[in-house]
């Protein structure tokens, strides 16, 4: 009848929400950084170590930029890990066929984009929920990558692609490798797109209430297809970075990457129910996970403990996400 009755506590939480949205992920990052700073010592914040973190997180970050868009629009893409693997294989295949490195890289990104286009068409045409569609394509794309690579790692000739994430020196100065700059550039583009374009506003509208978007004349299906294509193209870029690290085409690489990527978005304030998420938040989320990973390994903590900590952080972040919901 009238507006829904809202309890006092909930009202307070709603009032806090905007500030919390911005501050939460930052506080989380500061917390883990201080924690590991104390555990590891001041050398944890050496420029070289920071660069290591940036390089470590570049791949997750790139894929998470696209994931932020799709989660803002109320969707999800589980196939990004497989797309990364496919991209590395496609690049290796093209390099072996003696195409230039830039053609190979673009080919890899294009392969990713095509996967995304298919995801988008399946989601909008078949009206199957994105979780299921992309769960299917995750497996299909992984299989395709293995088929293309004939179930082995594809060696490829060394090119400048392999230097994208190579460290620039022994930690003196603060100039980072080209791959990092690429991520920074993409983050700015995606951030502006989400916050300051019609396409971005449409993504938020669809994620917040798809029926409202339709009522207001938003071309819901077209926007969704575009978003799925972009997220997979960005996964393709992540694949280029992955290839740069590996210098081979590996169809088994990035297994489970999609979960790290989704976790980064969620820790950064994205909501799986749509309508919420920011690029700075996502980058903070990805960085938080990188700090935990590197901190644990430098403290000499065993791998299993690192996994336990990361898992706890994710659940904590999602629990906070629930609290932030009305």
């Amino acid at each position: 009848m009238t507006s829904r009755a809202i309890g006092l506590t909930e009202r307070r939480l709603i009032a806090l929400a905007p500030a919390w949205n911005a501050a939460g992920p930052l506080l989380g990052l500061i917390f883990v950084a201080v924690l590991f700073g104390l555990l590891v010592g001041p050398q944890f914040f050496r420029p070289g170590n920071l660069e290591l973190m940036a390089r470590q997180t570049a791949i997750v970050c790139t894929a998470a930029l696209g994931m932020t868009m799709i989660i803002v629009a109320g969707g999800i893409d589980l196939s990004v890990g497989s797309v990364v693997a496919l991209t590395t294989v496609v690049i290796a295949v093209l390099l072996r066929a003696e195409y230039s490195p830039s053609v190979a890289a673009l080919g890899g990104v294009a392969a990713g984009a095509i996967c995304g286009l298919i995801n988008g068409l399946l989601v909008t045409r078949l009206r199957v929920v994105p979780f299921i569609v992309t769960l299917g394509t995750m497996i299909v794309v992984r299989g395709a990558a293995k088929g293309l690579a004939e179930e082995r790692r594809l060696e490829a000739p060394a090119t400048w692609l392999n230097d994208l994430l190579r460290t620039l020196g022994r930690g003196e100065g603060f100039l980072v490798p080209a791959g990092i700059w690429l991520v920074v550039l993409l983050a700015m583009v995606v951030g502006v797109t989400l916050g300051y374009t019609r396409f971005g506003r449409h993504l938020f509208a669809i994620g917040s209430n798809e029926r409202t978007a339709r009522l207001c004349g938003v071309a819901v299906d077209r926007v969704k297809v575009a978003a799925y294509t972009i997220v997979a193209a960005l996964a393709g870029v992540a694949g280029v970075l992955q290839f740069s690290r590996l210098s081979v085409g590996d169809p088994t690489v990035a297994d489970g990457l999609e979960l790290d990527v989704i976790a980064a978005v969620i820790i950064g304030g994205g909501s799986l129910s749509g309508g919420r998420g920011t690029v700075p938040g996502t980058i903070l989320g990805a960085t938080t996970m990188a700090v935990i990973a590197i901190g644990c390994s430098q403290k000499g903590l065993p791998n299993w403990l690192q996994e336990v900590v990361t898992g706890c952080i994710i659940v904590l972040a999602v629990a906070l996400d629930r609290l932030r919901q009305r």
Binding site: A5, P18, F204, N209, G217
Partner: protein, 516 residues
Amino acid sequence: MTPGDGGAHAASARPRFEMRGIRKAFGATVAVDGVDLSVAGGEVCALVGQNGAGKSTLMAVLSGALRPDAGSMTLDGAPYRPQSPLDARRVGVAMIYQELSLAPHLSVAENIVLGAEPSRFGVVDWQRARQTATNALAELGHTDIPVDAAVETLSVAEQQLVEVARALAIGSRVLVLDEPTSALTRDDARRLFDLIRRLRKQGHAIVYISHFIEEVKDIADRIVVLRDGRVAGSGAAADLSAQQIVGMMVGRNVDDLFPRSARQPGEPILEVDAFGPGSASLTLHRGEVFGIAGLVGAGRTTLLRALFGLEDVQSGRVRLGVYEGPGTPASRWRQGMGMLSEDRGGEGLALGLGVGDNLTLSRLEGLGPGVMVLPARQDHAVRKWIERLAIRTSGPRQPVVELSGGNQQKVALARLLHHDVDVFVLDEPTRGIDVASKAQIYALINEVVGVHSDSGKRKAVLMVGSYLPELLALCDRIAVMRRGVLGPARPVSEWDEHQLMVSATMADPPASGADA
């Protein structure tokens, strides 16, 4: 039969259930305000009233779905305080809703025993379950329904029978039927009436909710009329004329909330001919408010949505300005038509987004260079509307979920103003909002069609409304929709509430053949 006699039960039989002084409010809206109602075993009591008169709320209290704010209930003389619908069912009060509440994939037998499965050692005894189902259906005289069939394979009428059988299977003493014939064919409705008479003979107390007067006079022993949450009158069905019932439903309390400036219909801007859904033919002119009256579920919303491209067009012609043929919401906005949804929270607004994003969503163009949307420019554009419509908000970025219903509705309406549409399609523009906001929305509607409209060209308004005084005061012409068919439009001077109610509820009663 005089209004206000509280519907007190006059028959000699002891009441099966009794409700005393029931009151229920939702926020500031008092849906039911001190209603007494009692029904005896073997009696069919009809509950009638306009949309929003409080019928459904009162029955939700009886069936345990809502807890009353005040008042008491007894069942066969014992205090009755159901904590939930399940609780109510257990003691024998069952409600058959408009929307059926069966599990479509389960079988007839599974549905009938649902929640009360006979079991042995924790394992469901399907043998006995099927027997229970068979017995219940036999009691209704419908052995033709197979107990093993999946419910989704049955017709609506058969599904309704399964619902009734489910109520009987757990020993219901009180049955509430909410608009049971709205989805039925004439024959099915007649069979349902036969069934109700049989249940009456078996001593059940039956409450029958309906909009359709003829139908109610046919089936009920006694009629209780609700209006604005109170009992407006009651009496034996045989003693009340249809005219008297309508008179009680309508009442006489027209508020003078309605400004009305001089209007002069201009050129036609929307022409609809033999349009389906709705079998609608109408012409809407600039400077005119065209109202569509009718009951909830008569198909008014579907007609508006089809015109706006949100539902499929089945037949007929439509011309909007210079544009011929059906459109999509996107093309309708471009052609100068905007729609306000009746479902404010579910469709009209993205509640999690800010006032500004909601208000400008249909037209983000012009809020920045190229494809850009600059927040500063968006805020500037939005502030103008916040000011003009006196929307109470902390600013353009405040999520609309935090606004009151009336202010939310103003945001939804401001979207059409921001877009500067020529044709306002408004579905229940004042549903569930406070009186002050209502008055503002009335003034706004009057303003956009007025001769002195400041934005140059006069607009046109096509609106669906359920509150009759509102329609009569705002509209220039009104047509009534009834059971999916739009009637002819007549100037507002030729209508009054009584006639509107008669057109909406009478003629072609579905079960008139049953009195033979």
